[in-house]
């Protein structure tokens, strides 16, 4: 007994026209729509902390905000806008802004721009809660510009009070 396969039926199978068009359009959309780009850079905003420096032979306390931008491709420079926020009398206020600070990555690699001099003099040593936030515009060597922002996640207490300007 011979077995006959329904080959003719298989080859006769037709995709309805509307369905074919939908598949085609779907394929087009998947391939042609702009893809969400993987970010090339990241920003690290550390918690504000105190440090000491000498000025006119006096030990002065300062509050520092360290920020780093790091990319997977070489960067030309980063322009940063940052601020230190404090809780004063139960109200969150900005006590110091750092506007349009430009840094060139150091010679060890062109991938990281470090901000280690965002600082403000303490007016007294009264404990105060601080928080840092920053927005960066990173100019990459290939001409692209990446924009990103970050913050220090939560408030920390430091023995330094800055009077809001």
């Amino acid at each position: 007994m011979s077995i006959s396969l329904p080959l003719k039926q298989v080859f006769k199978f037709k995709v309805p026209g509307v369905l074919a068009l939908a598949i085609f359009a779907g394929q087009f959309l998947v391939n042609e729509l702009p893809k969400v780009k993987e970010p090339l850079c990241k920003i690290d905003v550390e918690r504000p902390h105190t440090s000491t420096y000498l000025k006119q032979r006096k030990n002065l306390e300062i509050l520092k905000l360290n920020v780093t931008t790091e990319c997977t491709v070489p960067q030309e420079f980063t322009i940063l806008n940052a601020d230190i926020q404090a809780i004063v009398d139960n109200v969150q206020i900005s006590v110091q802004r750092f506007d349009n600070e430009l840094r060139v990555p150091d010679e060890k690699g062109r991938f990281k721009a470090k901000y280690r001099d965002l600082q403000v003099d303490c007016d007294s040593l009264e404990p105060t809660m601080y928080f840092g936030q920053a927005q960066a515009e990173i100019h990459l060597k290939n001409g692209e510009v990446e924009k990103l922002s970050g913050d220090s996640q939560y408030f920390v207490s430091q023995d330094c009070k800055i009077d809001a300007k």
Partner: protein, 171 residues
Amino acid sequence: MQNRKVTFYEECLTLGRFLSRAEKEALYKYLLETKRNTYRAGAKTLLQDDFLTVYVANGEIQYGIEDKHVHYVAREINSAEFCPAIRKLSLHVPKFLKVIRLERFFAQAEVDILSNFPLPGDNQQPEGGFGINAIPFYDLKYYSNGRGMLRGFLKKFENSNSEILTKLRTL
């Protein structure tokens, strides 16, 4: 023998990254006042030769003119690597204005160098690459934080930094 007291300006030469924005702004004005003749002579040399080298604190500045724009590159003395030319200023103006523009450009460049390559002092400088304020003090947009020249013009007179400037002139 009595030790001479260090002036506030001399201390500024050693502060580097510890110079605040207000101090840099006052230094810019102070340098424009006190070094105007040096800057004028430098501007004439630069316009004639298209090249000028100047040493400030612990840094070397090389100015150049290309396509009617002045720029500078700088490095720490005895260092091999120059920072890239980031600041540029157009010189598409009459000659007397070119000199004025160059004077301001020189003062700004020297403040940039003072904060990056200071003289050795009591304060250990934090790490990090070459850093400057993206909008220069000679640009009115600096005073409006990039939000227009007219607003900058009005705001310029609000923040005079006169206290620090007085300290620079007298102490």
